[in-house]
């Protein structure tokens, strides 16, 4: 099951969808909206996606994981729209015969999702400002390492800030 949704993610449904008698191990990853990041305070996030491409890339990373581990079933759901603190933004579930495979495959799936899948978050802070989070990538002119955001990766892109008081 691969999908983007504007509704609350039901991770139990997702987890049930990867259960199988052929697999002894299930790993579920949940990304949730975190309050504090490097001393600033997040109050909400908005997620936007390039829908068709995001679904295609999610299917690609599933195939990629299947080439690397004996993956039984995979489920990935990414939420879009407005999320409050503590809300689940993404859920990745994977089942494999053995646990180390499931941990490695699960980690790979979420790592690749964050690299490849065209989804963006806009962050709202408690000081009334907001900004798109765009992790820096290496280019001819720039080689900047990504820092942390209110879920996982914050870009230094805030340097070129679009923040304005709301």
């Amino acid at each position: 099951m691969i999908k983007l949704t504007r509704h609350e993610i039901d991770y139990a449904v997702l987890t049930e969808s990867v259960r199988s008698q052929q697999s002894g191990a299930i790993v579920l990853f949940l990304g949730t909206v975190r309050e504090m990041t490097n001393g600033h305070q997040t109050v909400a996030l908005d997620y936007e996606a390039y829908h068709e491409m995001a679904e295609a890339k999610l299917a690609e990373i599933e195939s990629e994981a299947r080439k690397m581990w004996p993956v039984d079933r995979v489920g990935i759901v990414h939420r879009l729209g407005h999320l409050e603190l503590g809300d689940i933004s993404v859920a990745v579930a994977v089942s494999c015969p053995h646990r180390h495979q499931a941990f490695e495959a699960g980690k790979h799936l979420i790592d690749r999702l964050k690299e490849l899948v065209p989804v963006w978050k806009k962050e709202y802070l408690n000081d009334g400002t907001s900004a798109w989070v765009h992790p820096c990538v290496k280019s001819a002119d720039h080689a900047v390492s990504a820092a942390e955001s209110a879920t996982e990766n914050r870009g230094n892109d805030l340097l070129q800030s679009t923040r304005k008081p709301e």
Partner: protein
């Protein structure tokens, strides 16, 4: 050729539109498209060196050739998850 280019996230905000029609030469590649985009929207310039380009559902580098009817999208580095 005329190409409709989808824009997302901060690229969309800076351009003030979620898509734009650009006119590029028939032999244009993705690098030429970047240049046409920044010419049309100077406000995008801080973003352009990092702007990603997709044709269909695949990422494309600057050397990738464009063709009429290509589904093109431009957007900043992704930040999902």
């Amino acid at each position: 050729m005329k190409l409709d280019v989808k824009l997302f996230a901060r690229a969309k905000d800076l351009a003030g539109a979620d898509w734009v029609q650009l006119d590029v030469s028939d032999s244009a590649n993705v690098g030429d498209l970047r240049n046409a985009l920044i010419e049309r929207f100077p406000d995008l310039s801080p973003l352009v060196p990092r702007l990603l380009v997709a044709i269909g559902t695949d990422y494309a580098d600057d050397q990738t050739q464009l063709h009429p009817g290509a589904e093109v999208a431009c957007f900043p580095p992704v930040s999902g998850g």
